[in-house]
């Protein structure tokens, strides 16, 4: 009988057998806000990637000066209402230079999002590796790595970034360098979060069970610990993206960031700061873009968190293919009852 059961279930299996990744998507899709946010993030990334195309469509580029479009006698404020919006310049022009704001905004997205995402990736990878290794390693490893984390946390980030950026020869591709440096000097908090979370996770019995299964420490870390770490790390990482954009801005402001004339949102914000009364658009555009990015990332990170947690399925009212399963159940139940009754009699 048991053989027959196995056979029926094997044939049922594909129906109910949604793999982990598929279920994750199902749970993510069930959250409308998260999907809107994901769409927004995707759109932003798309805009960044397609920046040259978009600006070609507009017929502008981000570096050409248009002296005639600004009022030189009044400090270079754009001529015309709304920073000189026109069919040529969709979002108006930049004060002083007359460069096209739309072009600068979409090209700026490349640098800002690129640097921020790359730096965040470096921070998360480094932080998680160090944190998890410290938590799983012996006393000495833990001491060493925890001290290193302390040092990173205790050192003022901007200062180290400034100093390090000055040391590297200027030939090195700037955006890459900026991402790497931000990544390498600001992983401390993620490291601490990862270590603390690992410490509490590693005492759970399921980790012990995985050890008994014969898995290597590495595999245990990957399969049993990382998914548990994901929630706190993702929450924090979503906030690190804007803070990395801000760091890039500060570095640009201090003259060591991404080089002009390459635009970045951070740079735009920095120089637009004083223009907020005379040419509000100049400030509001990058600020708005950044706000949308942050909002989308935050909502998305929430959604991902929720979707990562299988327990959320019922709250989200996502089926896991239960109907078929329930039918299979019913078959099995009758079979079992019969068997029990047979045994009893």
């Amino acid at each position: 009988m048991s053989k027959a059961l196995v056979a029926t279930q094997a044939s049922e299996a594909p129906a109910s057998g949604a793999s982990g990744a598929r279920q994750f998507w199902r749970r993510l899709r069930a959250q409308r806000a998260a999907m809107v946010a994901a769409g927004t993030v995707a759109l932003l990334v798309l805009v960044a990637l397609a920046a040259p195309l978009l600006t070609a469509l507009e017929g502008q580029d981000p570096t050409t000066y248009h002296s005639a479009l600004v009022d030189s006698a009044r400090g270079g404020v754009p001529i015309g209402s709304l920073s000189g919006i026109s069919s040529d310049h969709w979002l108006g022009v930049e004060p002083q230079t007359g460069r096209d704001l739309f072009a600068r905004l979409v090209h700026g997205a490349r640098v800002s999002l690129g640097v921020a995402l790359a730096a965040t990736t470096v921070q998360v990878v480094l932080g998680v590796v160090v944190g998890v290794t410290a938590a799983l390693g012996n006393r000495w490893v833990d001491q060493l790595l925890s001290r290193a984390t302390d040092i990173i946390v205790a050192m003022p980030l901007i200062i180290m970034a400034l100093a390090l950026l000055a040391v590297v020869p200027s030939g090195f591709p700037r955006p890459v360098l900026v991402s790497l440096i931000i990544g390498f000097v600001a992983w401390g908090t993620i490291g601490k979060i990862a270590r603390a979370a690992t410490l509490s996770l590693k005492n759970l019995d399921h980790v012990a069970a995985a050890r008994l299964s014969g898995w290597s420490t590495w595999r245990i870390a990957r399969r049993e610990l990382l998914p548990g770490l994901a929630a706190p790390v993702i929450t924090y990482a979503a906030l690190m993206v804007p803070s990395n954009i801000a760091i890039e801005a500060s570095l640009s402001f201090l003259g060591v960031g991404v080089k002009p004339p390459t635009p970045s949102w951070g740079q735009m914000l920095t120089s637009a700061n004083v223009w907020y009364q005379a040419a509000p658009q100049y400030l509001l555009l990058p600020a708005g873009a950044l706000f949308v990015t942050v909002l989308a990332l935050t909502v998305l990170s929430d959604g991902v968190r929720t979707a990562l947690d299988p327990r959320a399925a019922s709250r989200l009212r996502v089926g896991t293919g239960r109907r078929q399963e329930a039918q299979a159940n019913a078959v099995a139940e009758t079979a079992k009852t019969n068997a029990v009754q047979e045994a009893g009699s």
Binding site: Q9, L212, R317
Partner: protein, 530 residues
Amino acid sequence: MSLVQVTDLTVEFGDLRAVDGLTFELERGAALALVGESGSGKSTVASALLGLHRGTGAGVGGSIEVAGTDVQRASDEELRRLRGAKAAMVFQDPLSSLDPYYAIGDQIAEVHRVHTGGSRRAARARAVEVLDRVGIPDAARRSRYRPHEFSGGMRQRALIAMALACEPQLLIADEPTTALDVTVQAQILDLLHTLREETGMGLLLVTHDVGVAAESVDEVLVMRHGRMVEQGPVTTVLGTPAQPYTRELLSAVPRIGAVRTPSGATDEVVLEAAGLRRAFGRGKRAFTAVDDVSLTVRRGETLGVVGESGSGKTTLGRMLVGLLEPTAGEVRYCGHPRIGVDPAVQMVFQDPVSSLNPRRSVGESIADPLRARGERDERRIRGRVTELMERVGLDGAHYHRYPHEFSGGQRQRVGIARALAADPRVIVCDEPVSALDVTTQAQVVALLGELQRELGLALVFVAHDLAVVRQVSDRIAVMRGGRIVETGPADEVYDRPGDPYTRQLLAAVPTLDPEAAARRRTDRRKLALT
């Protein structure tokens, strides 16, 4: 009007109907037990009585009336007034059901104040009073302790005290003793009994342990798959069951007197512990959980380890499988000293909640040892996992379900399946069946025996249920305070206990016969007085 009136109750979690058309009532002052196998929907019913499913996404149908409140239609405020004041719930797990940050007295006082609006002082006084009432010695001082400073039994008492704080008409106790060892269990059940006698409150006892039900209630409702199987006075249902399922249930209950069919024990020693000691903490905080324990486990035999909570059973088990480094002494596997883990020595964990990764499907968890051994063929893995799940009484089609979708007992079976997947030679089972209903328990015990015979498995069976232990064990070790106080062949230990502590343990084992239970209750009182 009766105290509880439930009509045609259904509870649905998504597609799953956990409770299906249940109708019952409970008179004032009466006691009803909901018994049934794990996952049959007992806890779900208990929660429904207090309206705890509200806002969780579960769909509740039918009508529920508790102490004059229509739970289904009551406003949030009315529900709030019901909870704790007229009907109070004692939860299954005393470890996590109290707030770790506040003194126990304050927590009880808070509940009291919420419902009576009295002064802080009065509430504190009441807290001390109820703590005293449930038998916490030196209650005034202990009321300032935080939960972690209480033992498991004391915590359970504290929870009961909290329930008593507002003198409710109905006490709902959801598996109040599952996490406790037999001696404490007996104390708690006795306490519930006395309280009921004295205050005249109604009791709804949720349990999968028929013995526990027999000891404490007048009426029994047997549940299965969310439906009622049989209901009636306890003597009738347990004495002359009408339904085959109930009969099956009763026949599966392990009896302390039952004699075990001898296993195929050999003389070949597979696992050996010599002078094991384990201390936690340093300096003043140092605490020796296991002290100078030596034992041997032979191929094909089962060694039962019994002892009260905190006596060091789990710690010993973890050292045996290599999850914990001994402070002194060594563990030898097949004659060779062994450090670290080895898939050939497996463990079934005590806590079914934390022993499964909530983010991985159970099938994947069970497949772990297979994959770790290098198995790559997905079909073979699926086949083997399904087979293992079947063997422990799970549905093989549940491969992709997550732990939270299983009841406590089902999760424990997953744990066993996972241990088996490693083709071990020794399994340390840490309370493997304490969360299981008797039928499953019987199946699992039978399964373990079968596997043992088939594979020559050696088992270390840690449990607080002496009846079960007797059923499976060839030899017994009795632990107390980290030491083994008595060891010997099972029959000898049970029939001629040498140590007074062992005698105490034996007296606490619940029995199926309500009359016998009453007798033993008086015996225990005498034992406690002397």
